[in-house]
Amino acid sequence: MIQTVAIAQTPGEARRLGARAGLPPATKPLRDVFGEALLEVATHNPRVVVLDGDLGNSTKAETVRHAFPERFFNIGIAESNLVGVAAGLAACGFIPWITSFSSFLLCNAYDQLRLAVAMSNINAKILGSHGGITLGKDGPTQMGIEDFALVGGLPTVVMLVPCDAAAMKAAVRAATDYVGPVWLRSSRVALPPVYPADGCPFTIGKANCLRQGDDVTLIACGIMVAAALDAAAVLADEGIEARVLDLHTLRPLDVEAIVAAAVETGAIVTAEEHLLTGGMGSNVARIVAQHRPVPMRFVGLADTYTESAEPDELLRKYHLTADDIVTAARAAVRAKGKR
């Protein structure tokens, strides 16, 4: 089931995700990188414990099971119990990493996440694996397309969405070091390296600017960061210089970077592998509307469930490609001209 192929937006090298931006091809699935990073923090910090919902082979949390079986608990197919147990472990001074698919955890254990984790403000880390639609063929019942919205409803929880392997490693370290609840989205697919290996500056709450530009800002997270860089390359050929922000932290939002984008570029496009309703774009829009209203366009999932298919087919059919970002950016820039 492990898929190591890169997500090509259309067949052929030229349309491979990240190719137009000059990014190298993807190599390792993001979930594998998570497994390695989790093992690293568990090795360095004996207070780290890992809880699994019978999916350690899929989330890759099993790396810790093999190395430190005494600090690994498979709670079984029982996510609400899993979260409750983690809360108890946190109260004993351990740092629980709660791991499962994003959909099963949030949808089965939301009340437990609400009271035992978020309201109690405990030092637990939550891995929501298989986020978005790029898990592909297992289909909509397993996909996590509403995690930003649902974690958004847990006000004390930090929300991290890494866009490549280096960012994933940095995010796992940052989450473990941070004192308090953190949600981390992982993916089944491999993402092209946006950052050099081990070269991702990662401060919680601080967006990374990947490309300078004055005409429009593309704000993206996760897989859409590489797509935004591709889109920026296409726009540059048309004479539109796009700034690109990797918004790896969805809470707390980097208000400063968002306001600067509005002030300095005058137009914003957001791109996310998530429902538009309750997603990253709507939260960015709130900041923009309050501080400096400028034209905005939004790339994300319309109010619909998707379906079983190859990830690249889904990204195309449901309009999550670089081309969709380009179209949105042109429209935002045009709207700016009319003002």
Partner: protein, 273 residues
């Protein structure tokens, strides 16, 4: 009842599941193989009353595939039962196909519940029984659960409620293949004593060899009577994950993996024997 005809159908369903998942290069064939005789008996042994050309006929018996990852088995059974053309099976998990990786109600005729997040089917089944009671209909509701799935709290909430409401038209079937995704049930999250658990929740408990077609027919027939009026019935089916394909039976890490074309060729050979 011609047992040999049922075995032939079971073989055909396994071959179809193998073909579907190999073509899709994904899916859960081993989880389908442990439940094949059960599903065959229900659809082709006269246990379920259904009208494929009137899939919403209010009086139909219901079958709910609560372990939704065994969707290919359900789809193959529905195709052979006449709900839709068998050629649709080869579109499993492909874009624009109604055959989703996990079943979605109303996308396909005959799919009674959307499943894939484990633990939900028995509650839906209970609702169908209570609805049937209000509507004055006497249909039965069969719900197929995984053994790992029985770790989910909702299963026991439903079990408690079904006994409370004296839902004796509800029949749970546990595909007790002794494995969940990451390992043996007994090692990962033990269920035993399983029969005693159901018994203590107020259910009649029957056990059977889930691959002996005569036993499956006899036990499921008994479950539908039901053995103790006023009580729901659970059938604990002792099964083998990957049944019918030796190298899949021997390796639980086949969970959630399609066979490669080479493995599929060997599997086909074994199933045809």
């Amino acid at each position: 009842m011609d047992i040999n005809r049922l075995y032939a159908m079971a073989r055909q369903l396994r071959l179809d599941v193998l073909e579907m998942t190999t073509l899709a290069r994904s899916g859960h064939p081993s989880s389908c193989f442990s439940a094949t005789e059960i599903v065959t008996a229900l659809y082709f042994g006269g246990l379920l009353r259904y009208r494929p050309h009137d899939p919403r006929w209010p009086g139909r018996d219901r079958f709910i595939m609560s372990k939704g990852h065994a969707a290919p088995l359900l789809y193959a059974a529905l195709a052979h039962a006449g709900y839709f053309d068998r050629s649709l099976l080869w579109t499993l998990r492909q874009i624009d196909s109604p055959l989703q990786g996990h079943p979605i109600q109303a996308l396909l005729p005959g799919v009674e519940a959307t499943t894939g997040s484990l633990g939900q089917g028995l509650s839906v089944g209970l609702g169908h029984v209570l609805g049937g009671r209000l509507n004055g209909l006497d249909y039965r509701v069969f719900v197929l659960l995984g053994d790992g799935e029985c770790q989910a709290g909702q299963v026991w909430e439903a079990a408690m409620a079904a006994a409370h409401f004296r839902a004796d038209r509800l029949i749970a079937i546990v595909d007790y293949n002794k494995f969940q995704e990451t390992g043996p049930i007994a090692r990962e999250m033990a269920l035993e004593p399983l029969a005693a658990k159901w018994e203590s929740f107020g259910w009649s408990v029957l056990e059977m060899d889930g691959h002996d077609m005569a036993a499956v027919m006899a036990t499921l027939t008994e479950s539908a009577r039901p053995p103790r009026p006023g009580r729901p019935t659970v059938v604990i089916a002792h099964t083998v994950k990957g049944k019918g394909v030796s190298f899949v039976e021997a390796d639980y890490t086949f969970h959630g993996r399609a066979l490669t074309p080479e493995q599929a060729a060997r599997a086909r050979e074994e199933l045809m024997r």
